[in-house]
């Protein structure tokens, strides 16, 4: 359903700061795939997700989602097909607007916006129901400004927003990295549930190897703007942290150090 072929991204082309961030990425995903993406800093993980979302133009190659050519489509139009959750919990929501307003904005993603009131009672009831499933007590605080919530709560709301308006693809860019371990675990469980309930195809970047192994049915490892290693199915199930570490050391040519990849 997602078909990326020979994707190149070059930043600051023709300047001393030129960076060839993606060097011919090929990626094919099936509907319902949950792919975890790992790799060191500067490997091109976020660049890959951002080029699918349309944050910047790509140099060459193509991105096709369910037969729709996305390569040159402006980012706000791609939002109809692609939803996202960012690393920073502040980015995914509008802090000065209420929970209800944020959800209503997301529910209209990819639809024609009109001069009708921003939401209606039927929709409010649906939002309440969906929030209640999260078990965070947010269903009774619909009019509260999102800016008053904790990072974990905001991320949960962003996740719910990303699942509204039936997108085809969900992009998660280290969406639990800024949360404490307990909240991160909760948000990841929510992620899995939402992906399953809505039959979403998911690309999830993570710095946490055990999460990369635990979640999803496919895994890709990126290095220097290319996919260095990928596996799926049985092979993915049998992955171990030591194996991944060895693989990583071999492809990157250096030992894992510092905070490049957390073992969790």
């Amino acid at each position: 359903m997602l078909e990326i072929s020979n994707l190149h991204v070059i930043f600051n082309k023709g300047t001393v700061n030129e960076k060839h961030a993606l060097k011919g990425v090929d990626l094919k995903l099936e509907e319902g795939d949950f792919v975890t993406v790992i790799g060191g800093n500067g490997a091109g993980k976020s660049t890959l997700l951002n080029s699918i979302a349309g944050t910047f133009p790509v140099e060459s190659g193509s991105i096709v989602l369910d037969g729709v050519e996305l390569t040159k489509m402006p980012d706000y139009k791609r939002a109809k097909y692609v939803s996202r959750v960012f690393q920073d919990p502040l980015i995914g929501t509008a802090g000065n607007m209420s929970i209800e307003e944020n959800l209503a904005l997301a529910a209209r993603r990819g639809k024609r916006r009109t001069l009708r009131w921003y939401t209606n009672n039927e929709e409010r009831a649906k939002f309440k129901e969906l929030l209640a499933e999260f078990d965070l007590g947010l269903e009774d605080r619909m009019m509260q400004k999102v800016g008053t919530l904790s990072g974990g709560q905001r991320q949960a709301i962003t996740l719910l927003m990303a699942s509204l308006a039936s997108p085809k693809l969900l992009l998660l860019d280290e969406h639990t990295a800024a949360l404490d371990p307990k909240t991160a675990k909760k948000v990841l469980a929510l992620t899995e549930k939402i992906a399953k309930d809505n039959n979403l195809t998911v690309l999830m970047i993570t710095h946490n190897m055990s999460d990369a192994i635990k979640y999803g049915n496919k895994l890709i490892m990126m290095n220097e703007g290319k996919i260095a290693f990928s596996c799926e199915g049985e092979e993915k199930v049998d992955l171990t942290i030591p194996f991944l570490m060895e693989k990583f050391e071999k492809t990157v040519g250096e030992a894992l150090g510092g905070d490049k990849l957390l073992l969790g």
Partner: protein, 311 residues
Amino acid sequence: MFQGLINALPGGISQGLMWAILALGVYVTYKILDFADLTVDGSLATGGCVAIVLTAAKVHPILAIIVAFFAGALAGIITALLNTKLKIPAILSGILTMSALFSINKIILGKRANVSASPKLTIIGRLANLFGMSSSGLDRNILTIGLCVILLAGIIAFLYWFFGTEWGSSIRATGNNQTMATAQGINTDRAKIIALAMSNGLAALSGAVISQYQFSGDVNMASGTIVIGLASVVIGQLVVGERGSFWVRLVGVVLGSLIYRLIFALAVQIGLDPDNLKLISSIIIVIALCIPTIKQKFFSNHKVGGEKNNA
């Protein structure tokens, strides 16, 4: 001095209410869209010039005011296009349009320094005629206050409705968090174009009413507009606070504009040189803007969040 202030009151209230229309426009860009738009320094005069030239040419003043609104909206659209399509920074986009408008306003006036219309042709004159009142002195101020109250009530009702719709909600999201807005499929360029058109339309409307009140318009009538607008917005915010309902905050902007004029009248009464008034305006804004920061620093343990706290 006290008597002098009382005498200055009707004129001050008229001024406060006429400029409150502008202040509501500034609120749309500065607080809702988070866009420091300097275009109003030109578009208010554009509104004034268009309205007075048409009125002098015997066009019905209501039609003249409506045309003035759209002329201002057009100026706002140009600033928005400079910013969104040509990627010129917001402040510079506003300055460029504002500066260009200075020449355009002169062309509208037919190269004359100012244009006057016979009082009986203006909206004030026509209202005076309708109610059997005079178009000068206290009557003129009473008519202006009445006209402005009706206009302001209509504008506040419109803004309250509009920013509650799907469109309005998209514009608020664009001002609050552009990345989020884009991720939710909002065309942020279009949101900016609509908000700037609305804001500058209101600035021009304000200028049009001012020119009807003065029975004349000139290219300099808008100099310092942005400072007056901002002062009204920040004073209004101090008066009604940030937490109130949206319409309360809009009414606060009108109160801010009135209070600003009162401070102004007081300053003149205690014998301050009118030439120093712009200095005073800037000082009022600085004080009004820094009060929340000072409060935060000395009276609370809360840390200022990393996020913008507008609207």
